[in-house]
């Protein structure tokens, strides 16, 4: 199969995402193995050379993101990626790449949904944000990967694709075909050496330093420029809603787990329960308006996440008191800690939604109680005040 003539084939998510990236003209990838991201790297390594691209098995995540940074700075489409811990190591780069206005695409194949904060708030410093797209399945992943490269270039801003073990490893019959997206202006900022010695040599920088004639930001100006830019990026918000018109209970969920939620909600609707859902497709910007609208008529809003509750913060901000917000997910990984766990079962999910709808307490998360933290006696005592 060549990428030029898309044929339909059964392939694992990682491969489909990589083929979509290549279809979007991604020419460079660098990464370091880590479950469940490893196969993304493997497929890039296998497929990029065929289209004249380069994939480097970088010696670490820091080096991977650095290489991708260099490649992006030339104006070529390029990407990197990793998983939780590796993404953590790259945070300094994501933050500064945003300041440097680099259209870097990041494949974050996470081990759970507990990396939501990491993805949407970053661990980098300062007032930066990058777009985060969270496909629910391989089919959507193929489209969102292309959108990711488009939005990165449109805004000259990093874009992260947030996937997980299920997205990476589920095989689907897919056709990797081109998504229609409008043309973008040429990248008149990319380096290639030819503008050196002309008086107008190009500079790609996160700092306020500028050549004579270029905009002399200074550090403060640059920070303000980027902060005001972020407000425009918020326009790229995307989400999907279902059954919300008359829903008494609204569930917010994203990524693969949202597929379980949607399936469970369809079953509950069959039973006649008025439940609906909002699925953020962009995690940042968060679909605040869609969630707020859905919450208006609702009795209760639930946030279902495979974590101890992170997106629920954004749900609360969006709902803004219009209805009570409850967290109905939980920490649940497979035995290896790499995949998503026992909570991801349509029956489990459905009963959690039903309990919320009926005002009953949530059933326990499978396996949870066994490992619950037991505070020690000295931890139960209040710590004295130390400030006057």
């Amino acid at each position: 199969m060549t990428t030029a003539t898309p044929t339909r084939a059964l392939m694992e998510g990682s491969e489909a995402l990589v083929r979509a990236a290549i279809l979007a003209d991604c020419k460079f990838f660098a990464g370091y193995p880590m479950t469940p991201f490893t196969e993304v790297l493997e497929h890039f390594a296998a497929l990029l050379p065929d289209v004249g691209g380069v994939c480097i098995n970088a010696e670490s995540e820091l080096e991977a993101v650095g290489m991708a940074w260099g490649a992006v700075a030339t104006g070529e489409r390029a990407a990197t990626g990793s998983t939780g811990q590796g993404i953590a190591l790259m945070q300094e780069s994501f933050s500064e790449a945003t300041l440097a206005e680099l259209p870097l695409v990041i494949f974050n194949m996470s081990r759970s949904q507990g990396d939501y904060f990491q993805a949407t708030r970053g661990g980098g410093h300062g007032d930066y944000r990058h777009l985060v797209l969270a496909p629910q399945d391989v089919r959507e992943g193929v489209r969102l990967v292309q959108l990711a490269f488009h939005l990165a270039d449109k805004w000259r801003n990093p874009v992260m694709l947030y996937g997980d073990y299920l997205l990476a490893h589920t095989q689907e019959a897919v056709t990797v075909e081109k998504v229609d997206l409008p043309p973008l202006p040429p990248k008149d900022w990319g380096v290639d050496g030819t503008t050196s010695g002309t008086g107008r040599s190009r500079t790609v920088t996160s700092l306020g330093v500028a050549k004579p004639g270029a905009r002399p930001f200074g550090q403060e100006g640059k920070a303000q420029y980027i902060a005001t830019k972020m407000a425009y990026l918020e326009r790229e918000v995307r989400s999907e809603s279902g059954y919300c018109d008359d829903a008494e209970t609204v569930i917010v969920a994203f990524g693969s787990p949202a597929k379980f939620v949607k399936y469970a909600i369809a079953q509950l609707r069959d039973e006649g329960l008025r439940v609906g859902y909002v699925r953020p497709i962009t995690l940042w910007p968060f679909p605040t308006e869609a969630v707020h609208a859905a919450a208006q008529g609702a009795r209760v809003v639930g946030s279902f996440e495979i974590s101890s509750g992170q997106m629920v913060d954004d749900v609360r901000i969006a709902v803004a008191g219009a209805a009570p917000v409850e967290f109905i997910g939980g920490v649940s990984s497979d035995h290896s800690g790499f995949g998503l766990g026992r909570l991801l079962d349509v029956d489990e999910v459905r009963e959690r939604i039903r309990a919320l709808h009926e005002g009953r307490p949530q059933p326990p998360v499978p396996g949870y109680e066994e490992f619950a933290y037991e505070p020690l006696p000295h931890q139960l005592a209040a710590t004295p005040e130390v400030t006057p």
Partner: protein
């Protein structure tokens, strides 16, 4: 050095009206201005001048891309007429890798300090060299973090004064310096490795030649090339500016030996370098005394 009686002060505010030709212009083509905020007596601007001239000499001006590190030299990002991709502290060699892979015909080099390259980013430069990446890494080694106030780095030599070793670096407490050029020379992917200095005119001239050979190595796609340049940092060494050159040669220079550490795949021994340095220094001083360094 000859001593001739001092005559009257000559007007040096403008060029001689006639009867003279420019031997060396004030600025190389690739520098926009001579204004910069580096300290008096800093060696970094000298290294940067040599770098610019080396590119010009080889006709590589319109191919140059610099992945720039974070240190005092960073401010040159605004004053050199070279395409710049600003790196995070320590990360320039990886950026250079990504750039070169996408732009194989460009002359891609890093400009980093010892703090940037040998502390924060030691791993980057070594991996890039081991990979035999066809880029040139340029190190400005002053044995201190100049920018943050002159603290010891991984290249500070035993006995060197820095902000946190005012009485000199002590091996028992702080460990030993890393001779980065020597390490890189041992990596098979490294094709050309040299160490220059800017503590006097002769060294500046030799350093420029090293930079030329490094860029030639890159042009010939012969592998990774590396030039380390010892530079004065009177501020971080807590000494008067005028003492910088001597302090450099008697401390850093005695440990980080100048010379071509590896060329054409051959690694030079310490003795070979020493002998060459003595010979070259005498030769260049003689040339200068005669009226200028012969190219």
């Amino acid at each position: 050095m000859s001593t001739i009686p001092l005559g009257p002060v000559i007007d040096t505010s403008r060029a001689p009206a006639s009867g003279a030709r420019v031997v060396e212009p004030q600025l190389p083509q690739l520098l926009f201005t001579n204004t910069h905020h580096l300290c008096p007596g800093c060696g970094e601007p000298l290294a940067i001048r040599s770098l610019a001239e080396a590119l010009e000499d080889l006709g590589l001006v319109h191919t140059a891309i610099c992945a720039l590190g974070i240190g005092c030299y960073t401010s040159f990002g605004g004053t050199v007429d070279v395409e710049i991709v600003q790196a995070l502290h320590g990360r320039a060699p990886s950026l250079a890798t990504g750039i070169k892979r996408m732009r194989p015909d460009a002359t891609v080099f890093t400009l980093q300090g010892d703090g940037d390259m040998v502390n924060e980013g030691l791993q980057e430069v070594l991996h890039t060299a081991a990979r035999g990446e066809s880029v040139t890494c340029v190190l400005l080694n002053n044995g201190v973090f100049g920018e943050t106030g002159g603290h010891m780095t991984a290249t500070s030599v035993i006995g060197q004064r820095t902000k946190n070793t005012i009485d000199g670096r002590d091996a028992a407490y702080h460990g030993y310096p890393i001779l980065i050029g020597d390490l890189i020379a041992r990596l098979e992917g490294a094709a050309y490795v040299a160490r220059g200095s800017v503590h006097n005119a002769g060294s500046v001239a030799r350093t420029k030649k090293m930079l030329r050979r490094a860029f030639e190595t890159q042009r010939n796609r012969a592998g990774f090339s590396f030039v380390e340049i010892l530079t004065m940092c009177p501020t971080g060494w807590f000494i008067p500016t005028g003492e910088g050159p001597d302090y450099l040669s008697s401390t850093l220079g005695e440990v980080h030996l100048m010379g071509e550490l590896k060329a054409d795949g051959v690694i030079r021994t310490t003795e070979e370098l020493h002998a060459e340095n003595v010979r070259k220094a005498a030769e260049l001083d003689a040339q200068l005394a005669r009226g200028g360094i012969e190219d």
